[in-house]
Amino acid sequence: MHGVVEGSPPTLRDAALEELVDRVRAATVHGAAADGEGGGLCIRGAGSKDFLGGPLQGELLSTGALRGISSYEPSELVITARAGTPLSEVESVLAEKGQCLAFEPPRHEPGCTVGGAVAAGLAGPARAAVGGVRDFVLGASLLNGRAEVLSFGGQVMKNVAGYDVSRLLAGSMGVLGVILEVSLKVLPMAPSTTTLRFDCDERSALARLNEWGGQPLPLHASAWWDGVLVVRLSGARAAVESAQRRLGGETIPTEMAHAFWAGLRDQRDEFFGEALSAVSKAGHLWRVSVPQTAGPLGVTGLGSGTLIEWGGAQRWVVTAEGDADTEQALMKAARAAGGHAQIFRGPRSGTTMALDPVLLRIHRQLKAAFDPHGLFNRGRLHPDF
């Protein structure tokens, strides 16, 4: 082939990238064995999600120098950015063209990066309506544990050439390799958005959300906490207006609504404020992922009550230090509902992932397939690797 690549830009092999490659190559030779316990490489962008998963181990490998938006064309609905690019930079570039990252990745700290957002795989309030991080990943380049720079996926919406490795990286917590660059599908911001508020208890909030979910309504996000259900409608102007008339409730003023959803998305609203203060006293913030139709968890002894998002599919609760009974009850309730509960924040973060033996074996073998020397982010996703 006489190929001149006219389309997608090549992965930029600049000094910043070469340094990472050299570091990983060196680690394949010396690192893992020599360091033994606590060794390996600890991939880190801005460090905004150090709290997430198991404790940091190993030598710091910063993606901070991999910066910049490699390409962005609004009519293609795709943006490609290097891993260390601040999310805020990406979002402001998109906003100029009336587009957005529809999955609303949380911004725990101002400097948080694109690579971190994909590796953590966290999505914000719109998750149930629009999809999660993996639904928007179109392609990625990866530095694997053999110090090879690989590209998977691409910049087009439809692509079934080979295994979809790039989507697998969403939520991988860096255990498969260093995400160098990602291409994300972007969407236009909706022409119209309205937020409604209803007073109701947990059970009726869940019932309403599931009922509304089965109707052609522009339901975009929801949150219930402490007797108040808040829903966001988003879409064509006419659709939002007619849904608003149909659902009733109290319309929240735009500015206040904006602040509410941003606080929820970035986990700095009142609920998360209380949760963080419990965590500072050795308590734990739990994330419970269950089918949207699951009823109230029915676990007593939870501080701050339950915050329900994603039409019922994501629930947040807080347990106090050493309250093993409540923790067990919570995990049991989540399993019984067909989901799982994991510590999201707190001293024992990263210790609560339960995988059945077959899945655990596949996880271990996948880890070995990408990172045969076990260099990357040991223990961040699962205590065993």
């Binding site: 082939m1 998750r127 999809g131 692509n159 050439a161 067909g338 899945l359 596949i362």
Partner: protein, 513 residues
């Protein structure tokens, strides 16, 4: 959908590598006896086929040019039988090729000549349609359209709608990550499946994903979808159902220049509109379908766009107005909005009959499936027009324009070996040109056996090796659908294909010239 070719018209994809285990030197007949005897102990008499006349229907899938005869075809009726067949095949180190309706277009379900074809046709029950959770739980052999039909009484449907939806099964959709005309707005299979249950090659039950929006650990579901039966055998799928739009209306727009039509596609998206469908046909294609369906297409247009809005009546009215404004701003020479459902279906009838219409005017045709960035639509059309001269063959073009997925149909006569050869070169040229334009060799039909050579162009050796390693993590001995999807280094070397992507060219400096 390729028109049928005479058996053996094309070379089979060459030597599929035998499964590991050192058994490739055992004579085939002896191997067949051994495998059939072992499986007979597990399955009812009627659920195992091995006589030549019984296995012939399984020789190929929708890609009829590539054929092979399996040792036998197992048609288990229960999950316990599936598990037992897999355990036995694993013990005997026999390759296993899972098969649904066999409508795939890339040879993904083509049998392995030293393997067992595992037909899942009997897993055809809809287990549950739950209007409250908006999910359906179905066995893998349920047809795509049957899910939407079962959900219709609740005002719900399953969104991905590949053109073969009457026949293709959800298990096959999972294997191929199937799309359809609505996937720009509603997503592909990967976006509409919550959970896949199935079995590993060892015959162990395994569940990927969950009924919640995520599962603990790595998102294995995202790699299972689209894995073309190479990682696990799917038996049951939980899909999302979405509310059926109250109304859909379609605009038919004519352009006197393909470049302008391509620009209009980009302009619609840039205006912040995500159409429910956005399709394009070029003039030769339009002529072929008009002759077939008589839908009143504009035969003078160089390109026709179909642009659809769906939702509530208010939403549709608002969106149609915005679309009309953009399209006329881009120089559309004729604009017509469907007045009712009958007219909307008429607009679509030609597009949906593009393949049979092509079959009427040519003995054979080969359908390509690459994807390019939307902005290159006009460029690829111009390039394809030049290739028509170069290879001396005609090509009709239909595109899922909204997502840049092309289906050029190359017309040829398979009885003329030279035409067949030129057609293959033409097809490969389209795929390689698509990759150079920043696209991919397959948008929705899968790699299977058909595009193995083109995978050498798109991926570097280390990338292909990483994919092999991923496969081994699920299937250490390489028994599930071996020889598909990822070409070996040897195959790429023999085919003389060198990959042309990104900064990973063997000689990256050459790119600059």
């Amino acid at each position: 959908m390729n028109a049928p070719l005479p058996p053996g018209a094309l070379d089979a994809p060459g030597s599929l590598p035998p499964a590991a285990g050192g058994l490739s030197d055992v004579p085939r007949a002896q191997r067949q006896t051994e495998v059939v005897q072992a499986l007979r102990a597990l399955l009812p008499e009627h659920a195992l086929l091995w006589h030549q006349e019984d296995v012939v229907p399984y020789e190929c899938d929708g890609l009829t040019a590539y054929r092979a005869t399996p040792l036998c075809v197992a048609l288990p009726e229960t999950e316990a039988q599936v598990a037992a067949v897999l355990r036995t095949c694993h013990r005997l180190q026999v390759p296993v090729v899972a098969r649904g309706a066999g409508t795939g277009l890339s040879g993904g379900a083509m049998p392995h000549e030293r393997g067992v074809t595992l037909s899942l046709a009997k897993f055809n029950k809809i287990l549950q349609v739950d209007p409250v959770s908006r999910t359906a739980t179905v066995q893998c052999g349920v047809r795509n359209l049957a899910i939407s039909e079962a959900a219709a009484p609740y005002g719900l449907y399953y969104a991905p709608d590949p053109s073969s939806q009457i026949a293709c099964t959800i298990g096959g959709n999972v294997a191929e990550n199937s799309g359809g005309v609505h996937c720009l707005k509603y997503g592909l299979t990967v976006h509409n499946v919550l959970q896949v249950r199935g079995y590993t090659i060892e015959g162990e039950p395994v569940t990927f994903g969950s009924r919640a929006l995520d599962a603990a650990g790595l998102d294995l579901l995202s790699v299972i979808v689209g894995s073309e039966g190479m990682l696990a055998v799917t038996t049951e799928v939980v899909v999302k159902l979405v509310p059926k739009p109250q109304l859909a209306r379609c605009i038919m727009a004519s352009f006197d220049d393909v470049r302008r039509a391509g620009e209009a596609v980009a302009a619609v998206i840039a205006a912040g509109i995500i159409p429910a469908g956005l399709e394009m046909m070029d003039r030769p294609m339009t002529a072929a379908v008009e002759d077939f369906v008589h839908a009143g297409y504009d035969l003078h247009a160089e390109a026709i766009l179909l642009c659809e809005a769906d939702g509530t009546p208010e939403e549709v009215a608002e969106e149609i107005d915005r679309m009309l404004e953009v399209l006329s701003g881009c120089g559309a020479t004729r604009l017509e909005v469907s007045k009712d459902e009958a007219q909307r279906l008429k607009f679509w009838s030609g597009r949906k009959n593009a393949f049979p219409a092509s079959g009427r005017i040519s003995p054979d045709y080969m359908c390509m499936d690459s994807t390019i960035p939307r902005k290159r639509l006009a460029d690829i059309l111009v390039a394809i027009a030049e290739m028509e001269n170069q290879y001396g063959l005609r090509c009709l073009n239909v595109f899922h324009a909204g997502d840049g997925n092309l289906h050029p149909l190359i017309l040829f006569d398979a009885n003329d070996p030279d035409q067949l050869h030129r057609c293959e070169l033409f097809g490969a040229d389209i795929l390689e040109t698509s990759v150079r334009m920043g696209g991919t060799v397959t948008g929705e039909h899968g790699v299977g056996v058909e595009k193995l050579g083109s995978m050498c162009v798109q991926f570097a050796p280390e990338e292909r090796e990483q994919m092999f390693a991923l496969k081994r993590a699920f299937d250490a001995e390489g028994l599930l659908n071996p020889g598909k999807v990822i070409p070996t280094l040897t195959r790429c070397a023999e085919g003389g294909k060198m990959h042309v992507k990104k900064g990973l060219l063997p000689f990256p400096q050459l790119e600059r010239f």
